[in-house]
Amino acid sequence: MSDAPSIAAAPADTSLTGADVLLRALVDQDVEHVFGYPGGAVLPIYDAIFKQNHLQHILVRHEQGAVHAAEGYARSTGKVGVVLVTSGPGATNTVTGLTDALMDSVPIVVLTGQVPTHMIGNDAFQEADTVGITRPCTKHNYLVKDSDDIARVVHEAFHVARAGRPGPVVIDLPKDVMLAAARYVGKEEVVHKTYQPRRLPQEDRIERAVDLIARAQRPIFYVGGGVINAGLEACQTLRALIRETGYPVTQTLMGLGAFPASDPQFIGMLGMHGTYEANMAMHGCDLMICIGARFDDRVTGRLDGFSPGSFKIHVDIDPSSINKNIQVDLPIVADCGEALKALLSCWRRRNHQMDEVRLAPWWEAIKGWQSRNSLGFVMSPTSIKPQYAIQRLWHFTRDLDTYITTEVGQHQMWAAQHYHFDEPFRWMTSGGLGTMGYGLPAAMGVQMAHPDSLVVDIAGEASWVMNMQEMSTLVQYHLPVKSFILNNSYMGMVRQWQDFFHGNRHAESYMDSLPDFVRLAEAFGAVGLRATTPAELDDVIQEMIAVKRPVIADIVVDRAENVYPMIPGGAAHNEIMLSPEDPSAPVKGSEDGMQTV
C-alpha cells in the first residue's frame, strides 16, 4: 500500500528473520494464543515459535477447527483470534471458518503459509492462490512479498479486523519472506490512514430518533450482535436506555445476552423460530428501533409483509447493512456503543420519563400474545424432550460461570429459546453461515480463553461428528469442554423441513451407524455419559459438570420433535405456526416454503 510509514528511523536489527518479526508483531498486538497446524511452508514460523515463550500455540486436528476455535476465543473475550496454517490445503481448509467469521462479524487474523515467491504461479507442491480464494470471504487480505512489510501488514491486519464492522483478515506469507532478514516496526508507528470507519453518530439524527422514541405508542427495540461487538459498556448503555423507556425488547440469535433474558422487558428472540410475542410485536409496532442487527431473512420473513406500519430507525456501523433488505426511515451509521450513549444522554437531557399510561395498551397486547406460551412443548414420561434437556442444563448451570456454544440445527434453536442468557459474550453460535461443526472447536477456543469456566457445546449428533477430531485437541490441552449432544439420529432441521415441505420423505436425513458416543469418548481419553430417559437426565448433567475433564454426554432425545414456533419460508411474522396442531398453520407444503432456503 502507498502509505507505508517511514521505517528509516527504526533500528536496523539484521539478526531478525521474517518469522521473528511476525511473532514480535503478534506479541506486540497482545496475542497470547495461536490456533494452528504446521506444514512445509510455515516451518520457519514454527521454528521461531519453538524458540520463544510469549505465545502459546494450540495444535488443532484440522484447520477448520483452528478457525472456529479462534472465533470462539474472539467472541468470548472481545479480542482478535489468531490462526496459523500452512499453504495449499492448510489455507483452503480455513475457507469455511473465514466465511463464518465474515457473516457473523468476528475479528480474526489468519496467517497462511505460501510457497516461496519465486515459485508462486508455478503450480508448486501445496500451492493455492490463497489471496484469490479468500478475497470474497475476508474483510481484507494481504500477500506479503517483502520481509520489511511484515510488521506493518500485521499491525494493519489487526486494525482492519477490529475496526468498524469486525471481520476476518488473511495474511499470506511466502516461505522465503519468513526466512529473509526483516526490520521490525512497532504497532504505534503504524496508523492506517485510509481505513478509519465512522464511529460517532450524527447528532441531528440522534435528536430526531429521541423525538420519535419519546412519542411512540407501540415501540420495540430490535437488538443484534452489533451491540455485543461494541463491547460491555455498549450493552450496559443499552440496558439503561431500554429500562428508562420501559419499552419491550427482542433480540436476534446473535444478540442474545446483550439485554438480560430474565428481565421482564425482554420478550424473546424474534424471527423464524422466535417467540410469538416478539414476532407479533415486530409486526404490529409503530416504531422499530433496530440497533446492531441487519434485517436477515431469518428475522424478516416475507419482506413485503415485514412490519408494514412501522417507522424504522436503524443504527449500524456498516453502511452496507442499511437499506439492504428493508428500507428504513432513519439510518444512523455509527458504532452501536457511541450511538446508544448519544441516545441515552439526549433522552436524559430532555428529561423524558417512562410513560406507563401511553404504553399500557401496547404491553397489554404483548401480554396477550405471551399467554399463548409459544415455547411450550408436551412433556413425555418416557422419552427426553430436547427442550426439556436444555431447560435442565440451564437449571444446573445458570448460576455457574458458564459459556455456551452450539452447532447448527434444531438443537441450536432450542438452545436459543430455552437457555436464557443474562450476559453478553456467553453465547457462541454460527448464525449467518449456519456452519455445522462450529460448536466443538468454538468451545475449545472459549475454554482456552477461560480455563476455569464451564464451557458447554450444546450439539446435535450430526453436526458434532463433523469436527469431532478436535476431541483429541481437548484431551491434549486438558480443556474440559462438555459436549451436550441432543442425539435424535437425524439431521433434525433437515427432517423437519422434509416433514413440512416435502411430504415427510426423509431423504438422506437419517444417520445409520452413528458411533457409540460413550465409548468414543473413552477412545479419545475423555469421559462418556448417557441419558435415555428423563429420570436419568439430571444425574448425567450434574456428573458432566462435576467432572473436570472433557465429557461427551449422549442425551438420547425424542426423534420426532420439531422446533416451534416457526414462520415458514415465504410467510410474514403474523403467519407464525405455533404447534403441529395449530389450525392457523397456513402454508404447510406450499410452493413458497419449498422454494425458500
Binding site: 481484507h140 420519535l212 412501522s310
Partner: protein
C-alpha cells in the same frame, strides 16, 4: 398512520461511479468480485493509475440497477479497505462522460468512401489505412459512439469504456 412513509423506487437507472483506490495487487479483482458475487451489473469499467507518486488508481464503473441496488453498491465499495474516495457522478450533478473507440472497416473503394464520409460527419479520425481497410478512432459520449458505429457498420470494434468526471469545480481527491 403515525409516521410518513417512503416510496420505494424500483425503476432501473444507469449510474456512473468514480472510485479512487490504492493501486495495490488485487484491488481490481476485489471490486469486480463484489459485483459478480452479488449479481450486480457492470455496463463498463475502466481503470488506470492516475497518481504515480501516491500509487492511486481511478476506477470508473457504469452500472445499472434500482436505487436500492445502486446505494448498496456504493456502500459496499465504500467499505473496501483500499478505497480512498468514491463519487456517484450521476446523482451529484452534471457529469462529463467520454469514451474512446477504434473501428475497422473493410470493403471495396465505394464502401471505404462511404466510411470516410461517415467519419468526417461524426468527427472520427482516420488512424490507419491499407488498400482495402480503414481504421478510425472516435471519442465522445457512449451514445455518440453508438450512433457512429451504427452508421459505420465496422468489421471490428474496440471500446475503452467510460471515463468521467464532474462538470464545474467539483473534484474527486483522496480524503486527508
Amino acid at each position: 398512520m403515525l409516521y410518513e412513509h417512503r416510496e420505494t423506487v424500483n425503476e432501473l437507472r444507469r449510474h456512473t461511479v468514480a472510485v479512487l483506490v490504492d493501486n495495490e495487487p488485487g484491488v481490481l479483482a476485489r471490486v469486480i468480485g463484489l459485483f459478480s458475487g452479488r449479481g450486480y451489473n457492470i455496463d463498463s469499467l475502466t481503470v488506470a493509475e492516475v497518481d504515480q507518486a501516491a500509487h492511486l488508481s481511478r476506477i470508473t464503473i457504469v452500472t445499472t440497477g434500482t436505487e436500492q441496488i445502486i446505494e448498496q453498491i456504493k456502500a459496499l465499495l465504500g467499505k473496501q479497505v483500499p478505497v480512498r474516495q468514491l463519487a456517484d457522478l450521476t446523482v451529484e450533478g452534471d457529469v462529463i462522460e467520454r469514451e474512446l473507440a477504434l473501428a475497422k472497416v473493410t470493403g471495396d473503394r465505394g464502401r471505404l468512401i462511404d466510411a470516410l464520409r461517415v467519419a468526417d460527419f461524426m468527427g472520427a479520425r482516420l488512424i490507419d489505412r491499407t488498400i482495402d481497410t480503414l481504421t478510425f478512432e472516435v471519442t465522445g459520449s457512449s451514445e455518440d459512439i453508438d450512433s457512429f458505429l451504427t452508421l459505420l457498420e465496422p468489421v471490428e470494434v474496440s471500446r475503452a469504456g467510460v471515463v468521467a468526471m464532474a462538470r464545474g469545480p467539483r473534484t474527486l481527491s483522496p480524503a486527508a
